[in-house]
Structures are given as C-alpha cells and as structure tokens.
Chain length 249, copies 6
Amino acid sequence: MTLMANMTWYEFNQRKDEDVVILPIGSVEQHGPHLPLSTDTIISEGFAELLGEHINGIVMPSINYGYKSQPASGGGPLFPGTIDLNGLTLINLVKDIIEELIRDGIKKIVIVNSHFENQAFLLEAIDLVSKCMPEGTKIIMMSWWDLISQETIDKIFDEVPFPGWALEHAAITETSLILKFRPELVHMDRLIDEKIEEVPKYQIYPIPKDLVPKSGLLSIGRTSTKEKGDLIVTEALEQMIKIVKKELL
Amino acid sequence: MTLMANMTWYEFNQRKDEDVVILPIGSVEQHGPHLPLSTDTIISEGFAELLGEHINGIVMPSINYGYKSQPASGGGPLFPGTIDLNGLTLINLVKDIIEELIRDGIKKIVIVNSHFENQAFLLEAIDLVSKCMPEGTKIIMMSWWDLISQETIDKIFDEVPFPGWALEHAAITETSLILKFRPELVHMDRLIDEKIEEVPKYQIYPIPKDLVPKSGLLSIGRTSTKEKGDLIVTEALEQMIKIVKKELL
Amino acid sequence: MTLMANMTWYEFNQRKDEDVVILPIGSVEQHGPHLPLSTDTIISEGFAELLGEHINGIVMPSINYGYKSQPASGGGPLFPGTIDLNGLTLINLVKDIIEELIRDGIKKIVIVNSHFENQAFLLEAIDLVSKCMPEGTKIIMMSWWDLISQETIDKIFDEVPFPGWALEHAAITETSLILKFRPELVHMDRLIDEKIEEVPKYQIYPIPKDLVPKSGLLSIGRTSTKEKGDLIVTEALEQMIKIVKKELL
Amino acid sequence: MTLMANMTWYEFNQRKDEDVVILPIGSVEQHGPHLPLSTDTIISEGFAELLGEHINGIVMPSINYGYKSQPASGGGPLFPGTIDLNGLTLINLVKDIIEELIRDGIKKIVIVNSHFENQAFLLEAIDLVSKCMPEGTKIIMMSWWDLISQETIDKIFDEVPFPGWALEHAAITETSLILKFRPELVHMDRLIDEKIEEVPKYQIYPIPKDLVPKSGLLSIGRTSTKEKGDLIVTEALEQMIKIVKKELL
Amino acid sequence: MTLMANMTWYEFNQRKDEDVVILPIGSVEQHGPHLPLSTDTIISEGFAELLGEHINGIVMPSINYGYKSQPASGGGPLFPGTIDLNGLTLINLVKDIIEELIRDGIKKIVIVNSHFENQAFLLEAIDLVSKCMPEGTKIIMMSWWDLISQETIDKIFDEVPFPGWALEHAAITETSLILKFRPELVHMDRLIDEKIEEVPKYQIYPIPKDLVPKSGLLSIGRTSTKEKGDLIVTEALEQMIKIVKKELL
Amino acid sequence: MTLMANMTWYEFNQRKDEDVVILPIGSVEQHGPHLPLSTDTIISEGFAELLGEHINGIVMPSINYGYKSQPASGGGPLFPGTIDLNGLTLINLVKDIIEELIRDGIKKIVIVNSHFENQAFLLEAIDLVSKCMPEGTKIIMMSWWDLISQETIDKIFDEVPFPGWALEHAAITETSLILKFRPELVHMDRLIDEKIEEVPKYQIYPIPKDLVPKSGLLSIGRTSTKEKGDLIVTEALEQMIKIVKKELL
C-alpha cells in the first residue's frame, strides 16, 4: 500500500497497469458527544489503507467533506460542526477526480465510502463518468456496512438490538470502528444512552429541531468495543478484498 | 380533491390558505414483464388523489420522469424503456415547481414519491428551496413504503418472504398496487417466478448486464392480489392523512 | 398507437426500428376563466395520440410543466396557478429524455408542443443533443399552430378577427381544441368577451399587473366550437402525418 | 449621449439617478452575400446611440455575440461565420451585466436587441434578475421590428411583399438599416434575388443543408435604400423614446 | 487584416486554412480619472488589429466584458462603472465562441487579452475546449505585458520605478498605450500622482473601501507618453508575430 | 489550536464567537522527483496548524484537491499523478464549505492556500459568498509566498538566483518547507539540477510535452535546507498572525 499523498510523481508513474487506486470519502458531521467530526473520513481511510495493503493499492488523499447529513441517518444539518456539500458540488468533485485518474491511464478505481448520505451522489458522479470512459475501465463503490453479514451483526448487537444501518449513526459500529482506528479520539465517558425515539417515516422541511436527540445520537452506543471494531474490520475487509479480486484483478 | 390540471386559474385562486398542494412524482422504468413502465407514476398519482380526497387537497400534474434506476432497486439503466433523468435535472425540476408554488402563496406542500431512486434528489431540491422560503412554509416528502407497518408486511408476505423495500421492485407490493389502481395494465399471466439471485453488496460501473434477471424482476411477485393492494393503500393512506393532519393542518 | 406509460418494457423492447417515439409537452398555465390549467398538455397529448395512431407511434408520458408564461402570449407569471420552469431546467429535462431515448436505440423522435413559450428552450435542448447524436437519428419539433393554413384560419375566425398566434391564448383555437379533446373541462358559461387592449411592443420588468386583462384572456374566445376544434385537428394532424412520413418514414 | 466605453469612472460616477443605461446586443451571424456578419450589432448600436442622444442615456459596450441562429429567422448554424452562444451562456452573460449595473445603483436599464433569436434568452436573464432586484428598478427590452407600424411596413414593402419579421433576415429592412448606419459595409452589387422557397412549418435536427438558400438570404432584399432605413429609424426611435419616457422618466 | 464584424459570410468563407483568427478580450473597469472604462478592450483590439495586419489574420468582434476586477490589479469591484462577469459566465462565453470557430473549421486561434484578471478564466475555457478538439487545432492566449523585455521596462520606467505588472493599472503602460491607440480618450490633465500605499499581501472580504486610493490609481502614471506606447506596441507586436509564426504558421 | 476533524460537535459548539476557523487547501500535483504529490496540502496544513496555535484557531479538514496545474507554475496537467479539478468544481466546493460555516454562526474565516493555481478560483468562491453574507463576517485568503520579504528572499536565494514565485515550484522554498514539515517525505538524493529553460510568455493548447523539463522541476532546488524552511515559516507565520490580529481579532 502506498499513500498517493506521500508518493512523488515518479513513484506514481511506476505503478503497474493492474494497480488499483482507492479513493476514500468521508464527511464532517456530528457524531454525538463522544466521536470526532471526521469519524466517517477516519473509517474510510482506515479501510482504504487496509485494503490497499492487501491488494497493493494506491490510496488517494481523502475527500474530507461529504453530502448533507439527514436527520434519520446523521442527525441532520442543524448540528454545529456538520459541514454539508450541495449535491452538485459533490457530484462534480468526484467526477473530476475520477476523470483525471482515467486521463492518467488508471483503469481500476475503488471508492470507499463511510457516509450514508454520500451514496446517491457518488453513484451519480460515477454514472456520469461511465457514460464516456475508455473500454476496460472499472469503478467500484463500497460502503463498509453493506459487507457485514447477519452473523456478525448478531455478534455486535449482543445486548443492544440492531436498529438498522441508517440509524447506526455514532452508535455501536461507528464507535467500535473509531475505537479500533483512532481510540484516542473516542470519549467513552461522554457517551450517553440516548436514541431517536420515533424514527420519522417522512421528511419535513424546515427540519424540526426536536426530530433527533439533542446529543445527536440516533442509536444506543453502549457495548462498543475495540473488539467489535476488529470484528467489523475483519469481515468488511475480507469482503472488500474478495470483491476487488473478483472484479478488478 | 381537485386535480390542478383540470382547474381553471379562477378555481385555483379560490383555494383557502390552509389548502394542501400535493405533487406526485413517478418514473418511466422497467417493472418486469407484467407491469407498465409508468408503474411508479400510477402509484404516486393513486395515493395523491386518495390523500387529496381526505384532506381536500389539490393534486398537481405529475412529474412523469424520475432519477436513474439502480440495479438493486429498479433493475438499472440498461433496460429499454427505462428513461432516466440526471440528478441535477431532477433537482432543478422539483426546485422550480416548489418555488413557483411558494410564489403563488402556497404554504403547505406534500410530495408523494413512489420511485426509490428519487429520494435523495427530491430531498436535495427541497433542502435548496428551504434555505430561503417564507416563514410558515412546510414541505413534506412521503414514500408509501415508509408508512407500512411490520404487521402489514407480515400479512402481505404470507407465502413469499419479504426481501426488503429496495428489492420489492415489480414484485408483490407494486403488482398488488397496480392491481388495485389500474388492474387492466397488469399482465399476471406473464409474471414469472424470478428474482435477483445475489444482491450486490457494492456498485460497479460499467453496470454488468447479468447483475439482475433478464426479466427485470428483482423479487418474487407471486401472490400479488388486489386485496393486498387494498391493504397497502389503506394503511399508507391512513398514515399519510395522519402525517398531514399533524404537520400541516 | 401505444402509450409508453402503459407498456411493459417487454412490449417497448419489441418496437421496430422504424417506430417513431412521440413526446408531448405542455404547461401548467392560466387559460382564462373557462379553460383548465393543463390546456396545453391536453392539446399536446391529444395531437400526440392521434398522430401515434396514424403512424403507429409510441406516445411517451407528457412533460406536464413548461417554460415561463409571457404576458403577451400566455398572460405571464403573475397569475396564480401558472407554474413556470426556468429555462435551464426545461433544457436539461428535454435533453435528458431525448438522450435516454437515443441510448435505447431510438432514431426517430417527434416532440409535440402546444405551449408558445416552450419553443426556444425545446430547440436549445434538441440542438445540444444533436451536437453528438448517432448518425441517422432525427428529431422533429412541431407546434400545431404552425401547421394551420390561412384558409382554415379564415374559417375559424369567421366572426372574430384573427389576432395572430401569440395572442390566440385561451381564445378561439384553444377553446375549440379543448371542446374537442376534453369538452367536460370547458366552462363556456364563464367565458367573457375580454381581450388585451394594447399589445405591448416591448417587455418590461417587473411585469406590470395591468398589462393583460384580469381574466387572463388575451383574445376573444367567443364562437369557439367543437367543430372548429375538429377543423384544427384535421388539418394539423394531416400535416403532422405528412411531415413524419416525409422526414422519418 | 455618452458611450460608457469612453467614459472615465469619474464621469460615470457623476451620472444622475434618473439616467438611463442602454445595453445593445447583437450577434455574429451570416447576413447574405452583401451584409456584414455584425449586422445585428451595428443596428443595435445604431439605435442605442440615437436613443441615448434623445434621452441623455449612457450606452454600454455591446454584447457582440448572440444566441444560435435559427434556419427560418437567420439561416441557421451551418453558415461559416455564424458564431452561436449556448442559451445558458447568454442568459448568464446578460444576467451578470444587469446585476452589476444594479449593484452600481442603476435603476433604469434598456436592452436594445436586433437579433431575433436572442429574445427568449434575454427575457430569461431579465426574469432571473427581476426575482430579487431592488424596489424601483426597471428593465426594458426592445427589438426595433416590434415598433414598426403597418403604415411604415406598407411604405417599405412597396414592391416586394412583406414576408413577416422572422423572415426579414438580410432582406429589405436590415439592408436599409445598414445602408443608413454603415453604408460602406453594404455590397448592393452582390445582393441576389433569392429567398427561402418553403418556410419550414416545423424544426428538424440535424438541420438539413438545403433548408435555406445557399446565399443565406431568406427574403428578397431588392428595393432596399437608405431612405427606407431612415423611415425605420425615425419610427422605431420615436417609439423607443416614447416608451422610455412613459416607463422610465 | 480583416475585421470579422465587417466581413460578409462569403468573405469569411473564402479564408484559407492557414488563416489565423484573433479574438480580443477586454473589460469594463475603472482606469483612474484619466482613462476610459474600456481601456483594456481598446488595447486588446489595438494589438489584435496590428497582429492581424502582419499575419493576415481575421479579427473577431471583441468580448467587451471581463472577469471581476481585483483590488490589487484593477481597483476592485467597488468602483462605479466596473462591470464584472462571474467566473463561470466568462468561461462559458469564451468556450462557446472557440467551439463555434472550431465547428467552422478554424484550426488556429489567438486570444489577445489585456485584462489581468481574465487570465485564469480564459485558460479554464481553453482547457475545457482542448479536452475534445480536433487534431491539429491550436489555441494561443497572449497578454501583452508578458511580452515586454526588461530592457523595455527600463526605458519606460525611466523616472518612476516599475511597480510590477499587476500594479501597472491605469498607470504608465496603459496610459501610454491609450495615448497611442485612442489619444482623444486620455485626460492627462486629470491624472494625479497617486498610488496604492501598501500592496495587500492577502485578500479580505468584504473588500475594504480604503484598500486602494479613491482615484482608482494603483501606480504612478506620470511620464506616460505616446512614445512609450509606441515602444510597448513595437516590442509586444514583434513578439506576438514571432509567437504566431513559430506556433501556427 | 484544535483540529476540527478530531473535535466532537460538543467541543466545536463550545467555541467562542471570536474564534477563527482556518481552512487549508492544497493540491495533488507533481513536485519533481523528490517531493510528494501532496506537497501543497502539507504546507497549507503546516501553516494552518501553526497559525491555529498562535491565535487559538480551529483548523478544518483540508481540501486535498486543487485547481489545474499550469505548465509555468506547476508543470501542467500532463504529469501522471497531477489530479486537477475544474474551475467550477473548486469554486462550488469552497463556496459550500464557507456557507456552511456561516450558517453555523462562524464570522471569522481564514483560507490558507499553497497552490498557486488555486488563487483565482478561491477568490471567485469567496466573492460569491460575500455577495450575501451576514454583516460582520470576514473571510481572508492567504498564500504564504505573498508574506515573504525581500530580505528573506535574499537569504534563501543565497546561491541560486530567485526565479520569481510562480516558478518556485518544487524548488528551494517548497523543498525547504517539506524538509521542515515532513522531512521523511523528501528525497534529496533524487533531486536533480534542472529547470525550465525558457519560461513561456504565452499559453498554448494543446500543451506541448516539452514545455517543462521531464522531471517536472521548474527551478533549481539545490541549497534547500530545513533551516531555510524555518526561515520561511517564521516570517510567513509572523505575518499571518499579524494579519489575523489586525483584521479579525
């Protein structure tokens, strides 16, 4: 694995044609009282680097900002510290970067995402690029939660019931992942037992201030551990490697 | 309920301030061998008109085209007859229409959606409008599947297991809804027992041709009945009315 | 003729290469005290379906919203119920739909327009598409009034003098056409004998409120009859068929 | 009248609040074998300067490029030397300039247009600006042909019948106007007696090469004289002054 | 040299393949108490025409409006009379014009710029065009100050020290150039001995009103003469011809 | 100084009103055989963090991608590993981020830039935001090279002559800065004594491959030392603090 940020262009130029380039994308978004604003970026970078190690990939500098936080998957835009990009901006940003990679001859691109709300806009960017990309180019987008089996979910949610992935915001899985990737940034002592009481079945604007708990916690984070982080990473990483090997190598 | 399409502007002008305006949005998208391309629009219009009847709402002409079909929720863009809008186009279209309503003094707007892939882009449009709309304006977006209880799901999926909402494409719920709203457009005799074998855990471009069954069916549609359509409509409609009453009336 | 909305994708997929696809586009615009807001859409759909019948065409779901109403051809944006799209939005909307048709292999596309103000923006959309469309693709745009002969004009304006096409808004020709296509939506008893007194020779913004009559009528609608609607339809349809046969078949 | 181009900013800054600022807009478009490519710009500038003289207006530097030439009003885009802007570009260009004027405190703006195809896009630009311009700001758009009476038309078309304004391209009125404004640029000896044989009743893309005469002439230009140019200028100018006085002064 | 504005399309059509087309671009920007608002356009046109004479080029109508004036190179946007285009507008404007030239078969394009702030946006436009232009097409952008040697600078700044090109706004070089190209527009008697006292080392918004002298002068203009204008023109023109010959002929 | 990335939203929410938020922006661009692709980002982050320490500022996650590299200031787009954003993308990206900060109540924003080509587009973003930002908001953009005195330049260029800031790419100042900030990423042994032979006085597209040395070095990097890095940092930082104190505190 090499970090593109640290490579000289000579080194980047010596990559082989089968090399995979990995683009991590995160967000700046509230993650409750105990997790850092860049939680999603940390997770994307963590996975991207591990994946890069196993497939000899090149990890690009992260896109540190993401699409607008939604109340029922990220707490929404009203939390100070949540910095949201407009849809068009994110589409163009990802499109430009991929097109530049393609112009440099890259044929195998993996986008590692950890911010729920990014998904539709990342796909729009890739779709637009794919309308006229050279034969043989392949672009994959992966979000870690899509790679977790029911079995692992059962292990992680041993005590607290699984609320579904959208609501797993700043809760057990993300807390466990930061406990693994950047434990010094987790303040377990500040974590409180709060969750969204009633998941909204519709969207309303202006977004009401009391839609989500004041803490920004959507689900219970108690029982988060580094070991659960290991569990998630092990499985998701295995899946990522499998996918890349199947589709790109 | 009045259809805005059929109203004169004099009639529209006589609406009261508390009147709710309802905008149905659908898609032109493959729905297997047995359902029409405008399935989503028919469902949105069906719900919009029923809702309109109960809350004395005004139903606008539909947006007949929607965002790009995705393989794991609509079969994807490769099916002939699927007509996809770019993200920016849909955002602007919905934004313009809402802004015009607001300029006409409308304060209560409900968007009824039935196309899974529209969601993120509808919210982006509403969010952009909401950044500078007059005090007191409220915009709600509802997708019928978010309003169905586990109890009803259990009734509908009495024989076939529930595959999750994304995969419920051209399957039991949509077939049952068209059997209710436009039975003459359903070809039950052409329905085959096919479903997506392995739900992709990631997105890859160019989209592989064999990702979804050739029929475009993502889940089993067998056991669809008008009665199940009634069940869905009854519950979703009740919820819609409840939401509108709570938030807008 | 088949309505694409009602077709399954299997059916759409069985079309022949010489099949023509027809896209009706209308507007939501004030049409005086006696005609519905969707007058233009009704007329476009009416013509599209008749044309489709004669050339075995496929009629797409309508674009129900159009470009901004202008005072001297539609009364302008100040009438409640007139819902105007921005130019860029309409351009992109039509461009996306045509490009999707082309991606599906369609080579013969007819746009049927009935909203005066749409014209420049429809042409811009088609022009942008045409810059890189496959050899052999042909796109036609038709507005019914361009197809009416002086002879027919003389018959229709037997009593009331012909005010020119731009001013024929919510007047004899449109009223007659709705009397033909959707007579139940015409309120002849509410029609009053009002017209724009002085046609503005220039455009001024902000648009003055008294530029057009309060009723929204730009010309005299008296003497409208279903028979005149028949006359218009017969001639315009004949021309449409002739054009399509000459250019596309 | 002062040309803004020649003013220092000190001079511009000394204008009074009731001063009118005039923006001429033209095109670079084929005008047959005998008229210059900037015919429209010359006419717009000619009128703008004359108007400026009578109302003590400030004439801005021209927008020298305009919207896409259409076959039946300008010959279309296939003629070498015709340089067409995209719709969005022209909209933004005019919008930016007007918004800058408004930021400088200007309240009275007149756009003088001489290119048929510009109209819809100029209005779109003005409409977008007008959505949030300061109270009291007024923007007028004028095209000279809208200001010509039937009486004058009868005088000008004494021999050749009046083909309608759209087709009056590079024909008697424009030739006469250039004979007035820039006689040295008119090559009457090269003018031939050619006109569009059959005016297309619909638009088709790709634009056929034989839609208009090879010369680019849409109507007969014979009988053009400087005197007819005088006639047009006298009447149009009188109208322009009247309009500005009524609306702005 | 021929001015495209004055050519008929027949004449434009007779150009040879090796003909160079030259596009001058300027601005409407304050240039102190003594120079006209269109100073930059005058200079660009002046150079374009001289260059055209020497290489038998075709000079297009100018783009009369440019990108936003910056305090430390043009005084900034706060001066009345400075009319600024948004970046996207200028990019699209230049892109459209070049693309139209290319569609007309032009292969050799020279953009002559005289407005410091235009540079980045002109290059963006050219870069976007160049991504898909036909083999053999070449586009050059030149700003006259880049072509002046140290030797000439020393001659021009014989008394007043050279402040650097960015600050040479409305100062000796531009004044001398207008004294050469349009002496009747220079008011030497109004020129005062003022200059920016402290060149800002950073940019701050909102732009402070006292950042630049009230006169808009950034550097000393004293000692400007027509002879210095000659000197600049002679050298820059020689360089322009050399560049065009080397790269395009 | 706190890194926003590492803060919880609770912590971010406890900032005081006078707190300054700092946004570093870099690029992914070739920097010769010896410096990393993220050289600019490293420098921006380095300065941002040091500045943050001295003014108790909050440092945002970096924008890791920048505007298109130009041959004469960065080697240009042809070097593999140089990833360029389109102008519009960068404008929107920066605009969105600043607008979100403002929505969160931030009034004091500093953008720290280290990529020459970013400048015009950053200013465009800030200008667009500034058109409607709340009273009292201030946004500063700083590039470190603008803050270096002639005295320091003389010290740094003790042996090699100063080539001007644009050409100081991957040369003494940047190498010295990376020797200071991230010495382990500098490969002094690979540095060769190469520089651009003839600085182009104009821009030409397509960009010729031999415009800059194959190494990507534009100027001599020999004599780079950590000590020189210290010198630059000391002075630039002192200036930055001074500016922030003067303008924001």
